[in-house]
């Protein structure tokens, strides 16, 4: 029988471009044998190793699928046309590459309240969307997530800027400070023109300009045990960028009580730390630091300084961890503390264990509600234990009356060079115990430092040693602001 085999375009390269091949045979199989004899490479395209038709290959005899006839044994007659018909199929992955590997927060992305992305957003977040780990589903999660940044300062700046750029749905900020000139060296959220005005308003203007799609919620308040749960409860992830221990413990405890993840970071001088504290999945801040250090021992950045770029590094790590938690992508920094020594430029990771005896996230917690964190951290002491202190106005009056006392400055020499109150005597806190011999027990001592923390410690030490010592609340910082503006603040 004389038949024609017609080839699809895909197979015509094997026949030198020929669309049809005329062959002899009594069955489809015989016709194919003739085809393979003439064009051997076609065999491998159409048949598998055991001589059966490959998947994705259909043979039609005139208008009928040979599978509905007698397959390869179907007889043929003169003038028949055997059509090789590729099965055309395909499609997206069974597991779409855009589906992140597990949703850390359950609610996000899939909820009924999930917001779709506009055309403008699809373009804006393109570099996210094209990554399999994010994809459209991941970006939707980001765009429906609610993140609270505690502090709009050094860490809060890169945190909120990158989170806003990433398209976080609702970005909350807690702060109550005004922008100060000494903030600008690191708090890149704020610009020179905003000095003296609200940090949060400054932040809102900057973040809205960066990404108007982000809903910015301002909480212009000091975070306290009274308001923390109320403020935190409506957010999915908390990013702690605070610079003091009472707030850090407060944020930790509130996150543990609410079951929320805390993307934590802290910086001091040339060193930084970052971790994710999430009591449901790992340790909390209290597992790491059961109790705060004695007041005054660990100076704040205001007292000890910080390399301006450092919060930029640590804050962006917090932003990355926040996005990972939202996406459920990768391995979050849970149970690990990342330590950066910027002078040596060395990173270390230490593993953290959940403390079964942790007072808040352990097996039998003793802390079941928020406490007084100022007292817990010794910042606000009980009246009996608190060293006597005076306000800067009192100090001014004493100086004006030429009262007899020694004004003792316990800051570091380089701070003394920057700003000092006339007539003060400098003994850095660290040297005080060793230099008590220089002091006269019959004299009256009024002690100050930058903010009042180190001097409180000095007063405690002096009083223990039998000296008449009084602390200056607010330190030279308050002096510059309220008494003598010619003394620079730093």
């Amino acid at each position: 029988m004389s038949v024609q085999v017609r080839l699809p375009a895909a197979l015509r390269t094997f026949t030198g471009g020929q669309e049809t091949v005329a062959l002899e045979g009594r069955t489809v199989a015989e016709a194919l044998d003739g085809l393979f004899a003439r064009h051997p490479a076609l065999r491998r395209q159409l048949l598998n190793e055991s001589g059966k038709l490959r998947n994705f290959v259909n043979l039609y005899l005139n208008d009928d699928d040979t599978r509905d006839l007698k397959g390869l044994s179907t007889p043929v007659k003169d003038g028949d046309v055997i059509l090789i018909v590729p099965a055309i199929a395909g499609g997206a992955d069974a597991t779409p590459p855009c589906a992140p590997s597990g949703d850390a927060l359950g609610r996000m992305g899939g909820g009924a309240d999930a917001r779709d992305l506009t055309q403008e957003e699809l373009l804006r977040y393109n570099r996210h969307i094209i990554m399999p780990e994010v994809g459209l589903a991941g970006q939707k999660k980001i765009s429906n997530a609610r993140v609270l940044c505690i502090g709009a300062g050094g860490l809060g700046s890169p945190l909120s800027l990158y989170l806003a750029a990433a398209g976080i749905g609702k970005l909350g900020l807690v702060d109550f400070d005004a922008v100060e000139a000494s903030n600008l060296q690191r708090q890149i959220l704020h610009s020179t023109a905003w000095v003296g005005r609200s940090k949060l308003e400054s932040a809102r203007e900057r973040l809205k300009a960066l990404n108007p799609n982000v809903d910015i919620e301002l909480h212009e308040a000091r975070l306290t045990a009274a308001n923390a749960l109320e403020i935190l409860k409506d957010y999915d992830v908390i990013a702690d960028g605070t610079d003091n221990f009472p707030t850090r413990y407060l944020v930790n405890d509130a996150c543990v009580l609410l079951g929320k993840p805390n993307a934590y970071g802290s910086v001091f001088r040339f060193e930084g730390q970052a971790s994710v504290f999430w009591a449901q999945r790992g340790p909390c801040y209290r597992c790491l630091y059961h109790e705060p250090p004695p007041p005054g021992l660990v100076p704040s950045c205001a007292e000890g300084g910080v390399l301006g770029v450092l919060p930029g590094v640590i804050g962006t790590i917090q932003a990355i961890e926040t996005l990972k938690i939202i996406l459920g992508a990768g391995r979050p920094l849970i149970g690990r503390l990342l330590l950066l020594d910027a002078l040596a430029m060395e990173w270390r990771t230490v593993n953290l264990k959940k403390n079964p005896d942790c007072p808040i996230c352990g097996k039998s917690p003793t802390i079941k509600s928020l406490i007084d964190y100022e007292a817990f951290c010794g910042v606000k002491q009980s009246p009996a234990a608190a060293p006597p202190e005076i306000a800067v106005e009192d100090l001014k009056a004493m100086l004006d009356r030429r009262e007899s006392f020694v004004l003792l400055d316990v800051r570091e020499p380089h701070e003394y060079e920057l700003a000092a109150i006339a007539g003060s005597k400098l003994i850095p806190l660290g040297q005080l115990a060793a230099r008590l011999g220089e002091l006269d027990k019959s004299a009256k001592y009024v002690v100050h430092c930058k903010m009042g923390g180190r001097s409180a410690k000095a007063v405690k030490l002096l009083r223990e040693k039998g000296f008449d010592a009084t602390n200056v609340a607010g330190g030279i910082d308050a002096w510059s602001r309220r008494i003598d503006p010619t003394v620079p603040t730093y």
Binding site: R6, A9, A10, T13, V85, A87, A89, G91
Partner: protein
């Protein structure tokens, strides 16, 4: 390699793909078959895009497509001897980038253009076209050139 498509056909295919969402659309691309079809560097000028019914099992049509071989056979017979042929296919990827999937590769034939339209939240927003590499191990992206 290049796939030239008239703007009206792009609009037609995008619109079909949006209508099919959240299922995958699919169809045939018909072109004058160039002498170097199946070789690197060839250019295809699409003359017609013919929508096909997605024959895949209904439960999986959001991530799979299958073109009825009867339609393929019918169109090939119709075009026989005209110099035109089925030279490629289009299909959509709902809410997934316009990259070929492993399954696309498994089912891919040599020479054809596989033009994929990414439809996100019901809106066709991106398309890319792919040709199986000679060794069959992957896809090579070709330029999609909009004409007229």
């Amino acid at each position: 390699m290049t796939l030239k498509i008239p703007r009206s056909l792009i609009e037609q295919v995008f619109s079909d793909s949006e209508k099919a969402y959240p299922e995958e659309s699919c169809g045939l691309l018909i072109a004058e078959l160039p002498g170097d079809f199946g070789r690197p560097g060839r250019t295809l000028a699409v003359l017609e895009a013919r929508a096909a019914t997605n024959q895949f099992d209904a439960s999986a049509r959001g991530r799979r497509y299958q073109i009825d071989p009867r339609l393929f056979a019918k169109v090939e017979s119709e075009l026989s001897g005209s110099g035109r042929a089925i030279a490629g296919f289009y299909h959509s990827h709902p809410d997934v980038p316009a990259w070929p999937s492993p399954f696309d590769l498994e089912a891919a034939w040599p020479g054809y253009s596989y033009w994929i339209v990414s439809v996100r939240s019901g809106k066709a927003c991106d398309s890319r076209s792919w040709v199986r590499s000679e060794d069959g191990r992957g896809f090579i992206e070709e330029a999609v050139v909009e004409e007229g």
